[in-house]
Symmetry: C2
Subunit: 317 residues, 2 copies
């Protein structure tokens, strides 16, 4: 292997971060999770409990509540919610090594660029296809899939031969831990494709507090979702990211059939009174659309309504 990683730090050890940290640690790599106090305490006491394939394994790895623990890392898995990218990015910036590689394992299309503005290391967008959950502090549950897609953030990265070697090293690292990683020349298109689904489902499921299957029974709602997808594709294309409209519409409509009982993460956040990721979903589309001269009325409407619910909660609590 021409290049190896000596110290891997997961920033934001929620379900996704804990899962990939556990997989790497289990394969013998040196991993530290940075997370909330109860999770860290539980891990320090008895290791991280990895529930996978019907079995539970106790994984020994480092755990800390201090963002400064990122200072040793030559590879950072950045796994915070989009709403925390700016704040956490700023806080880790003084500690991140200039030669560190940071993978942004996050939804939304703006996180990697935001993080790259704040830290000295090299930030690579990463699309995550995994279903995980945290049944309790100190434990992570794998429910399905697990593959990652990485690729260059921009043309400069695409033309950086040294970076291409490091991405190959990432593939090798994760391969040693049974995690498939694909290098895509168009990782941003994959992120936009994921964003598009979130834009079409998350806010609507949240506002009505209903699962995808019920949404699919109301023709006007499906029309609204199609309008959302058309706008996202138009903004992506104007932004230089090629998305196919017909394929996007089909993928969007299929999701309700494959996950009829699913409530979106936005719906779960709204139900719990937590701040949602809406700024990085329909909000991103509205902002990019405005900057690029693409009309996004459906995304703007959904964005405004979720913001209103969040503002109402603040005004009444």
């Amino acid at each position: 292997m021409p290049f190896a990683f000596q110290s891997i730090v997961v920033v934001g050890a929620g379900a996704v971060g804990s899962y990939y940290g556990a997989m790497l640690a289990r394969a013998g790599h040196r991993v530290t999770l940075i997370g909330r106090a109860p999770h860290v305490a539980a891990i320090q006491q008895r290791g991280l409990q990895l529930h996978k394939g019907g079995k539970v394994e106790s994984i020994r790895l480092g755990a800390s509540t201090e963002l400064g623990a990122v200072r040793d890392a030559d590879l950072v898995l950045f796994c915070v919610k989009s709403t925390d990218t700016e704040g956490v990015g700023r806080d880790i910036a003084p500690h991140v090594r200039a030669d560190a590689l940071l993978l942004s394992l996050q939804n939304g299309v703006d996180n990697a660029a935001t993080l790259a503005r704040l830290v000295r290391g090299t930030v690579v967008p990463t699309v995550v296809y995994v279903a995980t959950a945290m049944p309790e502090s100190g434990a992570v549950q794998h429910n399905g899939r697990g593959e990652l897609v990485i690729g260059p953030l921009d043309a400069a990265q695409a033309n950086d031969a040294a970076l291409q070697q490091r991405l190959q090293a990432v593939v090798a690292l994760f391969a040693s831990a049974d995690v498939p990683v694909k290098i895509s020349p168009d990782v941003m298109a994959e992120l936009w494709s994921k964003l598009l689904l979130n834009c079409a489902y998350n806010a609507i499921s949240g506002l009505a507090q209903l699962p995808y299957g019920v949404m699919a029974t109301v023709p006007d709602v499906v029309d609204l979702q199609r309008a959302v997808v058309r706008e996202v594709v138009a903004v992506a294309n104007a932004d230089g990211v090629k998305l196919d409209l017909d394929a996007s519409l089909q993928t969007m409509e299929r999701l309700a059939a494959t996950m009829p009982t699913q409530h979106s993460s936005t719906a779960q956040d709204m139900a719990r009174g937590k701040r949602s990721e809406i700024d990085h979903l329909n909000g991103t589309v509205a902002r990019r659309g405005a900057a690029l001269g693409v009309a996004t009325p459906a995304n703007q409407a959904l964005y405004a309504l979720v913001k209103l619910v969040e503002a109402g909660r603040r005004s009444t609590t």
Copy 2:
């Protein structure tokens, strides 16, 4: 008076219908209210209790639960919710006299035309500016204003000299009961102006279950309301109804300041699990826009979301 009304029947004796019926009966006119059984029984026992200006008056008038009671009427005040126009219109049709005049005291811009398609009499659109409530069965409370605006439904009515005389008789009738009635050559523009406010406030207040004052604190929500108003004005103009955009936007934005604690009727319907009038608010704008080739994405989004909440209630109860 060249023309007088001998028998006035109120179809749909909710708060609005009961108020105008009471005012006319109190002035000595023969009035029958058609309404729900508890309201009718209470009126038959002890008269209709009119709470107005700090006093309570007991008004004697006819009351019935039977739609057939409309058969005597030469003047009908049609006061049902927009969602019931089609059904009740069909049910009263066999009983309505061919020479009857029907005033549609309803929100929305399609009720008068719908009713005119169903009954033989002459239907005149009426804009209602009154704040009323029903504190209990057998009682109606006047909270403010009370004036009506009537006018021709279409060019044929506008050119009907006999109808103009009857409209003058309506003015005289209500004047005898201290109810100001204005004849407008452009009553449809007044109805659209009222619709525009309902489209900008009702669904949003309902989806977030928040009052107008909170809506006004969220800039993206005000932008959404402006988008709604622009669409309604464009549809009205395409429909031959002249509305001024700047004046409409100003009126819309002022409403939140004058009624900061108000929850829309749609919000109240949604909170109670009742079917809302959304089909006749943003739904009307979406349908007319589609027919006239005017894009209405903001109204469509709000319409779809309210329909989803209503569908979800059916699917879970």
